[in-house]
């Protein structure tokens, strides 16, 4: 998995979305068990049909309140990650999406006021570790809400599965050691 560098300045084109972007929009139920290659072509297509086809690696999603509301489907952040989205900055996040994004290693940043900061298509500069969001065109900058340490650790490890891999390796090793 690609290393997530939270201290780096992420620069990318902004794709703006409104409030209450649900997991049904991010990962439509009709493709629930389709392979990722197919699923990613339908991410947010109901609200912006061009998004899954035109989004480029490194782009930034900027959204309103309650981003990712709805189901526990991890396929929602997974689809964004598969499309190369570098970070999601939203006014607020729904709880499960927030956890899932971090568990997968997709940087997320709650930042009230972020919607106002950008027009669609602007460039965004984001430093997740400092919860800093900036619009170089207007020169305005906002401070979001810093992620709690446990989430930072998981993101920096590249996701919770990397932690699990280490945990399991340790278990196997101690078992082998005992035997």
């Amino acid at each position: 998995m690609a290393e997530v560098r939270l201290k780096d300045v992420l620069r990318g084109r902004v794709w703006k979305f409104g409030d209450d972007i649900s997991t049904d929009l991010l990962a439509p139920g009709a493709y629930a068990v389709a392979p990722l290659e197919e699923r990613k072509r339908h991410v947010l297509e109901a609200v912006r049909p061009e998004f899954p086809h035109q989004v480029r690696p490194g782009d930034v999603v900027v959204a309103g309140r309650n981003f990712g509301c709805g189901s526990s489907r991890e396929t929602a952040p997974e689809g964004l990650r598969a499309l190369g989205v570098a970070c999601v900055v939203a006014e607020s996040f729904a709880r499960i999406f927030f956890r899932n994004a971090v568990a997968l290693g997709l940087p997320v940043l709650p930042c009230p006021g972020a919607s106002e900061l950008f027009d669609d298509g602007d460039e965004a500069e984001v430093v997740v570790a400092e919860a800093r969001v900036r619009n170089p065109r207007t020169g305005t900058e906002l401070r979001g809400q810093p992620l709690p340490p446990v989430m930072v650790e998981i993101l920096e490890a590249g996701g919770i599965l990397e932690r699990l891999r280490a945990w399991n390796a340790h278990r196997v090793q101690t078992k082998a050691g005992r035997g």
Binding site: D20, S22, D24, L25, P28, G29, A30, A32, V33, A34, A46, V47, R65, N66, C69, G70, S71, S72, R73, E74, P77, S92, A94, R95, I96, R99, N100, A103, L104, P148, P149, V150, G159, I160, L161, R163, L164, R165, W167, N168, A169, V172
Partner: protein
């Protein structure tokens, strides 16, 4: 200072003397639920990481409910892989096709008990708060971590208390209580928080009603929703509940709201927002192509019985198709034994196998462009049941059944209830 129920459960699960809202803790989980959309990925992930055994296979349930029975060869193969995974890891609590919806099964079979910390790969795991368990949804990667290590990190949530008083006046129902809370306080009412019910009227909420309310609490952002243990809980488990955790009288709540149940009336959540709630009488007359009675919110015997009161001896309106999906096989059998299913079928209902049915837009009754559905389920997000060009209205079983009779959304009080 005392503990809320969320704090009391997380304190025990974290092995700490005390915990407070806002604190980060690592907890031992008591039970894990995985359903068919994610079980295949879960087993693949475990295999990929070289995990050869679970922390406790007897504290994991796997349910084939979302795509049940398999609607395609691809899903049939997925189900086959899941059965192999279940076998490989020695999971006893496996519910194959047609047994019912995960949340219904875990309560019905009493696998979930008061005071437990339960995680599920399904957001409606908040349903377990109906029996005073801390249930919450997580994703597949976190589930891989939880079923292997038996632990997971949590932030202790602040708790909002909701006091109930007064008496519900039918046809207003417990579904209308949660719709009311969504309409009044919005879809972020209890975001990252626990919602704990109390008040003099809480003892009147039956188990089915508690499950409907706790189920939909996640639509208000809830991490947990609780009906603290009481006589209803004790009756269900047939135990005195002496060891079950309860909230302390001096617990600290972030906020307290109250609801006068006697003021509730039949409500409807309009597309595409769960908190866009209006009285059914104000939505009166909107034509519907499909009516759906079922889901983990309202697919229980009580719900089917309520629907039958409107449909018995009548016919569904020719413009409307009515789909009914019992929440579990036990519900199906009881509704069948009591003649409820026969009445629904006689009225023109299509009875689906126990399971999620069309609720999440996977199969069995999807909506086309421009179509409108009124259902008893829990989400009306755009694209939830098929075409993004379709509209979903959410309501109680009474409102949905009455609407199916007249072919448009109606306040059930407009449709006389059949006698007998």
């Amino acid at each position: 200072m005392g503990h809320t129920l969320a704090e009391a459960i997380l304190r025990r699960a974290a092995g700490q003397q005390t915990v407070r809202a806002g604190q980060f803790v690592t907890c031992e989980v008591d039970f894990c639920l995985v359903h068919d959309i994610f079980a295949g990925t879960l087993f693949d992930t475990l295999e990929h990481l070289g995990v050869d055994r679970l922390w406790d296979p007897d504290r994991v349930a796997v349910v084939l409910d979302h795509f049940s029975p398999a609607p395609s060869a691809a899903v049939a193969s997925l189900h086959r892989r899941i059965r192999q995974g279940v076998e490989r890891f020695g999971i006893r609590h496996f519910f194959d096709t047609g047994q019912g919806i995960c949340h219904q099964l875990l309560v019905e079979r009493r696998l979930v008990r008061p005071g437990m910390l339960v995680v599920g790969t399904d957001s409606h795991s908040t349903t377990y708060g109906a029996v005073a368990a801390a249930g919450t949804g997580i994703g597949t990667s976190e589930m891989a971590y939880a079923v292997t290590t038996g632990t997971l990190w949590f932030q202790v949530p602040p708790t909002v208390r909701c006091e109930l008083f007064g008496r519900l006046r039918p046809p207003a129902s417990w579904k209308d209580l949660i719709l009311h809370l969504l309409g009044r306080y919005g879809a972020e009412f209890v975001q990252y928080r626990a919602l704990e019910f109390s008040g003099e009227a809480v003892s009147y909420v039956d188990l089915a009603g508690r499950m409907s309310v706790a189920n939909m609490a996640v639509e208000a952002g809830a991490k947990f929703c609780f009906f603290p243990p009481d006589a209803v809980t004790r009756r269900f488990y047939g135990e005195d509940g002496a060891t079950w955790p309860t909230p302390d009288p001096d617990a600290a709540y972030e906020r307290t709201v109250s609801v006068d149940l006697s003021g509730l009336e039949p409500l409807v959540a309009l597309p595409h927002r769960v908190d866009h709630v209006r009285p059914a009488r104000e939505v009166q007359g909107v034509p519907v192509d499909q009516a759906f009675i079922g889901s983990c919110t309202n697919g229980r015997v009580e719900d089917l019985e309520e629907a039958a009161r409107y449909l018995r001896g009548r016919r569904v309106h020719p413009r409307t198709r009515l789909l009914v999906a019992p929440a579990s096989r036990a519900v199906y059998e009881e509704a069948s034994r009591r003649g409820i299913l026969a009445d629904l079928v006689a009225a023109g209902a299509v009875v689906l196998p126990p399971g999620c049915g069309p609720c999440f837009g996977g199969h069995l009754g999807l909506l086309g462009d421009g179509e409108r559905c009124v259902g008893t389920h829990n989400r009306n997000f755009q694209g939830r049941m098929g075409s993004p060009g379709a509209e979903i209205y959410l309501a109680s079983p009474a409102t949905v059944a009455a609407s199916a009779v007249v072919g448009y959304i109606t306040d059930p009080r407009e449709v006389e209830v059949a006698v007998g």
